[in-house]
């Protein structure tokens, strides 16, 4: 108990509050000044985001769409690889060329885009460029059950509202989703705070976490994270226990659209399961779940003559070769690509 405090006297050593005399006008100017400055900061971040996307999903989506849009009109590829981020860092077109002499392009984006973005990208490619011989569709098992495109995909897609609404399969943009897209794009200070936080607190981690895409769209990642892999496995298993394994209506529509586009041009469609953590793949509960995810895909493949499913038994990797349960790094990507080529060849 302070002597001074006990005597009821505030000692000179202690800080106190001295409110200053202000006018209401001064407060108004202060509030307006702060709001204007916040707006300036926000607009600077919008400009920064346009040059250097603040988050990894945005970076990847824009880079892949740019790769698609900037490919020369006469460019022909033998294999066009579509899918989610497991394919993005799992399928190396350079390795495919080494093994087969074939040209390929990796346009895999993120799982939050479902197979819908794959259909849109394929249509765009076929509208402007020669058809490939094969379309390879790589997805993690849990993408097939997702019913809606995730916000992280919608807000980062470099497409405007009209383009999204005109694309097929069509998706419904609720007013909430439209608002989300607008705020995400125009209020990064509020909406992209997690990415900004990592960028400012830990620039090295931010840089390491970005995509390292080569000119053929392969994302070179080389940092395994066994701890994260195990956490991710627990998340997957927990989610699998509460979410039924099914092929969602939107994914079925996207798959049907892709199959139609392929059939119209005599393209073979290969659906492949992503790599997976060996510990998880060995669990009976996971194997059972995976079998139930694969069943409708097998039926779909059986119903369409030029569609087939490979990696019915997903290729397994140890935690030291993975970033998450389904994202391979370093040499593991090469092994996955090799096996993909082998299975397609078979």
């Amino acid at each position: 108990m302070g002597e001074e405090a006990r005597s009821g006297r505030l000692p000179g050593g202690l800080p106190h509050e001295t409110p200053r005399e202000v006018t209401p006008g001064e407060i108004l100017r202060l509030v307006l000044g702060v709001l204007v400055l916040l707006l300036v900061v926000d607009l600077l971040l919008v400009a920064l985001d346009a040059r250097l996307p603040i988050n990894r999903t945005g970076h990847l989506l824009r880079a892949k769409w740019t790769l698609l849009e900037t490919a020369a009109p006469e460019r022909r590829v033998d294999w066009l690889v579509l899918g989610d981020s497991s394919g993005n860092q799992g399928v190396d077109p350079t390795r495919i060329r080494e093994l087969t002499g074939l040209e390929s392009l990796n346009l895999c984006t993120v799982g939050a885009c479902l197979a819908v973005d794959d259909a849109w990208m394929l249509e765009r490619w076929l509208d402007t460029r020669p058809a490939p011989d094969k379309v390879i569709l790589i997805h993690v098992y849990d993408v097939w059950r997702r019913a809606e495109m995730g916000n992280s995909c919608l807000v980062n897609l470099p497409l405007d509202r009209e383009q999204i609404e005109a694309a097929r399969p069509a998706i419904e943009l609720s007013s909430g989703k439209r608002r989300k897209i607008l705020t995400f794009r125009w209020l990064p200070l509020l909406m992209q705070h997690e990415s900004l936080s990592v960028m400012l607190r830990d620039p090295a981690r931010f840089a390491a976490n970005r995509s390292h895409l080569d000119e053929l769209g392969f994302d070179h990642q080389d940092r395994a994270d066994p701890e994260r892999v195990r956490r991710n496995m627990a998340e997957h298993l927990a989610e699998n226990r509460v979410t039924p394994p099914e092929l969602s209506a939107l994914n079925r529509a996207a798959l049907t659209r892709i199959a139609e586009l392929c059939a119209a041009r005599e393209i073979e469609l290969v659906i492949a399961f992503a790599p997976i953590l060996d510990e998880m793949a060995e669990l009976p509960e996971f194997r059972d779940y995976l079998a139930r995810v694969a069943a409708p895909l097998e039926t779909f493949a059986a119903e369409h003559p030029k569609v087939r499913l490979v990696f019915r038994e997903p290729m397994r990797f140890s935690a030291t070769e993975l970033e998450t349960v389904d994202h391979v790094v370093g040499a593991a990507a090469r092994r996955y690509t090799d096996e993909l080529v082998r299975q397609i060849g078979d």
């Binding site: 108990m1 302070g2 002597e3 001074e4 405090a5 006990r6 000692p11 000179g12 050593g13 202690l14 800080p15 106190h16 509050e17 001295t18 409110p19 200053r20 005399e21 202000v22 006018t23 209401p24 001064e26 407060i27 100017r29 202060l30 509030v31 000044g33 702060v34 400055l37 916040l38 900061v41 200070l189 509020l190 705070h193 900004l196 936080s197 400012l200 607190r201 830990d202």
Partner: protein
Amino acid sequence: MLFNSTAFVTFFLVVYLGYLLLRRRLAAQNLLLLVASYWFYGSWDLRFLFLISLSTAIDFVCGLMIDRGHLSRGERWKSGLFVVLTGLGCLVVDWPALLAGRSGEMLSADPLMWRCLAGVTAVTGVFLLLHRRLSALPEERRRRLFVSLSVISNLGLLAVFKYFNFFADSLVTLLGGLGLQLHPVTLQVVLPVGISFYTFQTMSYTLDIHRRQLAATPSLLDFALFVSFFPQLVAGPIERARNLLGQVTAPRRITAKAVHAGLFLILWGYFKKVVIADNMALIADQVFNGYEHYQGLDLVLGAIAFAFQIYGDFSGYSDIARGLAKLMGFELMVNFRLPYFALDPSDFWSRWHVSLSSWLRDYLYIPLGGNRRGPGRTYLNLTLTMLLGGLWHGASWNFVLWGAFHGLILVVYRLLGVESYHRDGRPTARGWHLAAKMATMFGLTLIGWILFRCHSLAQVIAVFGGLGFGSSPESAGFARDLLFFVTPLLLVQIAQQRSRDLLVLAHLRPGPRILAYTAILVLICIFGVRAASEFIYFQF
């Protein structure tokens, strides 16, 4: 309803708009604030609201009986109806069923609730019947009776809802150690948020009246608002009736000066809560919850993170509460005065949770004799006061240990005759000597925080045993985040300490002030933890 939630922001804006529309109509403003405060508190659990109304009614009656010796007929009926009706509304009416029109389910089926209501109604009836005889008691006897009734009922509420299980368990453990086996009797009660704050606040009212330092208020509405004023209801500052009640009963003026200071306090309070406290919690929780896996420097960093977490959390709440009050023309007491700049334990308690430390000083330490009965008794009084101060925080031995530790260092500093300030308030030390004194006190504070944060004796032993400077792969990340978040706080606090003005940023010229406020808002937007997390001190 948490300050750091959109629900609260909406709630406050609606209440504030109504408050401004009712300006110059004091009674209507007070009624609005009372309804808003009860809404705010009832949003946690409607049953808690009954406790606060019970405490309000008891202290309202006790205050008048101590001061005046009787209640007018209107006062008697108002206070009786108030407690019975709130009991009815909070304990036995099932509001969701009532609003949904399910007439068969609109009354509670819990017999305990009915018994509580019946008990309160019976006690109210007995009081009404005995009022005349109680009024006729000799003055001193009556004053003693009613101040005791106030203290016992408030401490009784605390004893039942906060401490019963703790003492019952401790007794069983103690007797078990002596070979006597008892079946523990525990109550299935939920701790009502902020109960320690409002019970202490209402007790100060009757104690001050008993000391003839305050006149009892005849307005139940004003008194109920004094007890439940929502900005400071659940985590303080613990206001004195001498300060707050006068502001409730007299017309208030909202000045530009107060609004300006209030806006800064709200901004700075949110910064301390969502940027400092919530980010420091990520480190502190990781280290203390998984203490078996951490050693050396990680434990030190975890303790430092907790020091800033609890400071940011509690002082942030106080700042927001005081800022909101200022916007409405109220002036609440300063609760924190840069405690980590303290030079000794006595200085620390002049800066940390000032509303509690001054309450303990005025209503416990001084009545025990303070320092007027020789050194030995002073040390005993200090230790006892700090022990009870520790126990105030929670029904757990770690809080008692924390209080005992602070009592001990207060005594040791006194024994050593450490004088940190001249009579005029200037520090006795300068330069490195001053920094060393500050660092020593911060180190001692950290020891206290470890006791405070640990949940068991085994954890205390493990954490103290593991402290050191050996690093792990995680140390660099902890240190980086600590530095990153604490640096802006410390920069502002150094300016506050040097200028001896907690509103130093509000004194900047307009341009730099706009820049500083924007920077704080940008930091809140980017680094603020969005998931609204509870303030630590709500549990006390």
